[in-house]
């Protein structure tokens, strides 16, 4: 089959590789009809996530048709149309039972690597480095899905791929990030980053009762899309977001602040330059420019929600502000399984049509080009969907 393979920083290729096969009884094979490039794939593309190996198949936002089932999968049938959560979860461990699916104890075959870095291992993920399981991803014609009996989610007729594809990651990720803001009546939520997750977070924050949402970015078309989602916007290249947020919130600061940017943030201040240099020479794993602003901007006693991906060790985090302002931090890879049904219902009810975020649909053969335009935000690119 054809698959999008990582061969090093800024080097992805569409290779011919063997077809996947059933390995474990709870596996399924899915023939992929749509697969997206995620903002977090760009961290792989840029070479900032450790333990990637040349030849790894990328992709963790995919859906398609079940074509083969392991002997233990009884609740789905060959021919079912399904979406696949990017987190791989067994459904039986302490964490899965507690609805904390992205912390599954049993899905990372390379848990020891994650334990060395983080103390404990989160769930395995599709196409996201060997430390996170080393699973072949879904930017391919076919994918093997472990624990398919809990991982596959059937999609009813009448919805297009683009309407349901983002149930695999970015819609639940934006939604969980908004939940993590602990939104109360009258709350103002500020969201750094108007990429796809930020866009879903804006809309989710309103679903959860936010009074106002303020979105921060510098890319005009992304700010435009945020406005379309009823957010007020700040272009951080034009105004200092900290000062602007204070003025927009009566001096209080936003009740909740969200970092939907993560480890490759851009900024305009000296700290941003410091991070660019340090990360470039590998003295720092992440560039937490947005996170610093989030902590300083947040009102006293407010909530900090971090859906943005971080990989390792961060410099110059204003922990003094975090502590003295009594902020609550919430983060984590998304517990996707938890959100599949409720968010599908919101799509079916017409509360949201997730296809709004798609700017580019292209054949999978053009994946290298897709990565390149998405990374450089060329051609007004916000979200790329590939068709195998």
């Amino acid at each position: 089959m054809k698959a999008v393979c990582w061969h090093g920083a800024k080097d992805v290729r569409v290779d011919t590789v063997p077809d996947p096969k059933i390995i474990n009884p709870r596996d399924a094979i899915v023939k992929i009809t749509s697969t997206a490039i995620c903002g977090s794939d760009l961290h792989l593309y840029d070479g900032f996530i450790p333990t990637m190996q040349s030849g790894d198949i990328l992709g963790h936002e995919f859906m398609g048709e079940v074509v083969e089932l392991g002997s233990a999968v009884k609740n789905v049938q060959v021919g079912d149309r399904v979406v696949v959560p990017f987190t791989i979860s067994c459904g039986n461990c302490f964490f899965c039972k507690k609805d904390l699916w992205s912390l599954c104890d049993n899905s990372n075959p390379n848990a020891w690597m994650a334990e060395k870095l983080m103390g404990h291992s989160p769930a395995g993920l599709f196409g996201y480095s060997h430390m996170m399981g080393g699973y072949a991803g879904g930017q391919a014609e076919y994918a093997r899905v472990p624990f398919a009996d809990v991982g596959l989610f059937k999609i009813p007729d009448g919805l297009t791929d683009e309407q349901v594809l983002f149930l695999t990651d970015i819609f639940p990720t934006g939604y969980m990030a908004a939940e993590n803001c602990n939104i109360q009546p009258g709350d103002i939520v500020a969201i750094w980053g108007c990429g796809p997750v930020g866009q879903f977070a804006i809309r989710s924050a309103y679903m959860l009762g936010a009074e106002r949402v303020i979105a921060i970015d510098r890319v005009p078309e992304r700010l435009q899309m945020a406005k379309a989602g009823k957010a007020e916007v700040i272009n951080y290249e034009e105004v200092d977001p900290g000062e602007a947020l204070k003025e927009m919130t009566g001096g209080r600061g936003p009740d909740a602040c969200m970092d939907a940017v993560g480890m490759e943030a851009h900024g305009t201040g000296p700290d941003s330059f410091y991070d660019q240099v340090k990360q470039a020479v590998r003295l720092e794993t992440d560039r937490p420019t947005a996170l610093r602003q989030v902590i300083v901007a947040c009102r006293k006693g407010g909530s900090v929600s971090i859906p943005g991906v971080y990989g390792g060790f961060l410099d110059k985090i204003p922990m003094g502000a975090a502590m003295n302002k009594a902020l609550t931090f919430k983060s984590g890879q998304t517990h996707v399984h938890r959100y599949l049904r409720p968010l599908l219902e919101r799509i079916q009810n017409g509360e949201i049509d997730p296809s709004f975020v798609v700017t580019h649909i292209m054949p999978m053969e053009q994946a290298p080009q897709g990565y390149e335009i998405f990374k450089h935000k060329k051609d007004n690119c916000i979200k790329v969907v590939l068709k195998p």
């Binding site: 009884p25 030849g55 198949i57 049993n106 848990a111 020891w112 093997r144």
Partner: protein, 225 residues
Amino acid sequence: MTSTPEDKQTSQSGTERWASLIGGGALVLLGLRQGSLRGALMALAGGGLVYHGATGQSGIQEAVDMNQGIRVEKTVTINKPADELYRYWHDFEKLPTFMKHLKSVQVYDAKRSHWIANAPLGTSVEWDADIVTDQENQLIAWASVAGADVDNSGFVRFTPAPGGRGTEVKVVLEYNPPGGAIGAAIAKLFGEEPEQQAGDDLRRFKQLMEAGEIATTEGQPSGRK
């Protein structure tokens, strides 16, 4: 104030800690004074001196061996009741399912079994082992008998975790490889990352018990040439 590693060693000697781990009293301490986990297990079984004679090892020799030996301790919490885990583990012939370095285990009778482990360069090592203590749903302890390629002993303990969190499974193993080339090879096998190896074995046991299968990517496609 936090204590330094030196403090810890003096305040909680290995001997006492092991005695409390295995759950024995004076007899265990007696065994451990002879210098090894084996001694402690024998003492627990109440047959320490007799057994000791049979292996032909003197206490002094054993203490020396122990300095070169490898001792590993690892614990994992499994979301299953102790009796279920105990039953699976007690069926020794199934252990190679999740213990990667084991090639096979053959059970002779209620007490004795024959173990074959993979060693470097396609070789293997073999030994007979006896169950020295068996407390239903709580503890299984074993030790190799005379003539083993690699002298080893160990126990697995099943303790209910608090608040319905399942069972804490602790494994303690001790290997005393012989001298010479084969000893070096075995030391390498068990010695490179013994903690990780034991940890990975336990994790596979947990996966098998909780998820019904062992997570793997072996056999999946990639673009590696």
